[in-house]
Amino acid sequence: MDLRYSDAEQAFRSSLRAWLATVLPDLPKKPSPEDWPGRRAYDTHWQRVLFDAGYAGVDWPVEGGGRGASPVEELIFKEELERAHAPYVGVNFVGLLHAGPTVIAEGTAGQRARFLPPILRGDEVWCQGFSEPNAGSDLASMRTRAVRDGDDYVVTGQKIWTSHAEVADYCELLVRTGSEDSRHRGISWLILPMDTPGVDIRPLHTIAGSTEFAELFLDEVRVPVANRVGEENDGWRVTMVTLSFERGTAFVGDLLEAIELLGASVELARRTGAWADPGTRRQAGHLKAELDALWALTKRNVSQAARTGIPGVGGTYFKLAYSEARHKLGEFSLGLLERAGLAAHDLEGIDGSGLLPAGTMVEDWLRGISLTIAAGTSQIQRNIVGERILGLPKEPQATAAGAKG
């Protein structure tokens, strides 16, 4: 167990830090959260800046056009970007973290040449069409149908939780090509151009008031068979391959942001006088212990990925513990704001001591509610821990008859 960074790792960190210091001051002003074209422009510009400096696809293999960094360098990369308050991956999320890695692993040479470079350069944006209104935790029950017609698939169905759909050029789309009850054996992975006729996007308003997600309605949408990645009916495996790209760094930025939010909460508590209360201090101290442990767990998970190339069970442990710690942190900061937390808006302290960060804190608390839901609810995660790690008996599996019903 060694927590010291090697000379090469430290050199990577210092040159990255130096580079960030030169480019960040020249970035354009951040667009408002609801200005989607503005957000696309901002995020893709940042991606281009990364590309020009050789930092695009830092975790992608070299043969996919990436930098081929080690998991530890990837950790350093994400850590330094967060600490420097560099732009978040934003609308490039699906392309860089899901679709691109899938095309690298499972795409044809032609698909790799066509789709990877524009993701790395920030020229093209992707979204994800996996979940359906009736296929959430039970994704294998999805019903969006693709019927072969000549050189095309004709796709009809509905997808949900499609982030950044409004500004995306392509969608990584899971469709049913097998029989109705084929579950994970009858799914295919398609590249859907978002400007294809029959694609209808309707934004979903989240409880945080944003339109982060959309519903995707697909009505006889024609997708070339050439856009299928992997074999027909093999899309479930193709998707799982992508998930194994995750090397324990998925939440690095979020975790460091949480540590920063804890610091801001303590500062607020000192301003309001709440810090004199032992209960407040102990909550803060406890949160520090939890977040520090999660940072150490991240380092363990990254170290395991570096050794074995595959993510261990630590990712599931991390997600369960982190999402709950984040809820607690949200409640803590909201409690400190008292009634100033009744609007998600920074407002002036009446003592003239400056702005109270109610905007960030309320917003963060609201967004944090999704953490125990998104990417596998905590209940599903506990099933995974219970069944796959502890070996407890499985939940009843959906049968063919059950899937039809």
Binding site: M1, L3, G263, H286, A289, D292, S303, Y317, L390, P393
Partner: protein, 332 residues
Amino acid sequence: MDFEVTGFQVELAEGIRRLCAGRFPLESIRAVESTDRVVDRAGWRELGEAGVFHLCLAEEAGGVGLGLAEAALVFEELGRALIPGPLVPSHLAAGLIDGADDGSVVVGLVERPVPGAVGTGVLPVIVEHLADLDVLLVLSADGIERFDPAALDATPLPRPLDPLTPVWSVTGLPAGEPVAGPEIAARWRRDGAVLTAACQVGMAQWACDLAVEYAKGRVQFGRPIGGFQAVKHLCADMAVRSEVARIAVQAAAVTVDQPDVGDADLAAAGAKLLADEAAVTNGRSCIQVHGGMGFTWEVPAHLAYKRARVLATRFGTADALAEELADSLAGA
């Protein structure tokens, strides 16, 4: 940076686990329940031979010269085996008290009440394992004092919470023979917190394993109860809690060994806080998973719960540790 446990460290821990399973099976440990002497002196010397007490002692002083990281792995195993006795104090005392390092001398430790602190002057000092001790050390911010356990005015307390941790009440604690100064005392407080936390992680894991085993075998409504989400999720939470605490403890131990990577005192405080919580909560959940049987003396579920509560009172309580961490956040 490679925070994975090394092959050597895994082997070390497995060796101790085998020693514990062979030499300290639960039946033999339980044979001395509710007596005033629970330390098996021959077993203690075997632990000494295995290096448990002199693991971190420099080689020129007759030790093994390993780091706290290795010691934390070893103490997790000792905790998992529920071995009774002052394991952490005897380890800390190696090199300071003759015979502690090879297990021929059993050393206990108690913290001197802090003047002006809540409870000081009202609550008596409670000493564990007094009848088993050859030497009692008293730890305070000023340093470490040595006492002859036999010379202490102490009253044995009936019905100790943990049947394997007999306790005595001491009303007055005179000044003892000074054997170490404030720097060593601070180091003991930090290392003692890490190693006690390691024991807690071992117990948290033991409680999780026992609950899972029971949930797989116990059938109700025609199914093993572990197939019901209500029970399965209790077990999953136990697994998450012990793993997060384990990582915190290992990170704290490595931070002690590699001071450049962080603040070792804070890492130790955070680790102890989470490990105490994991052991206590998992002990409680283990009883719950066992249902009515968990409330019986016979089923060992209560042992980890009770021991966890004993260890949670040592080297920093939850409130004190949380305050220490809070002070660091406020830049105090």
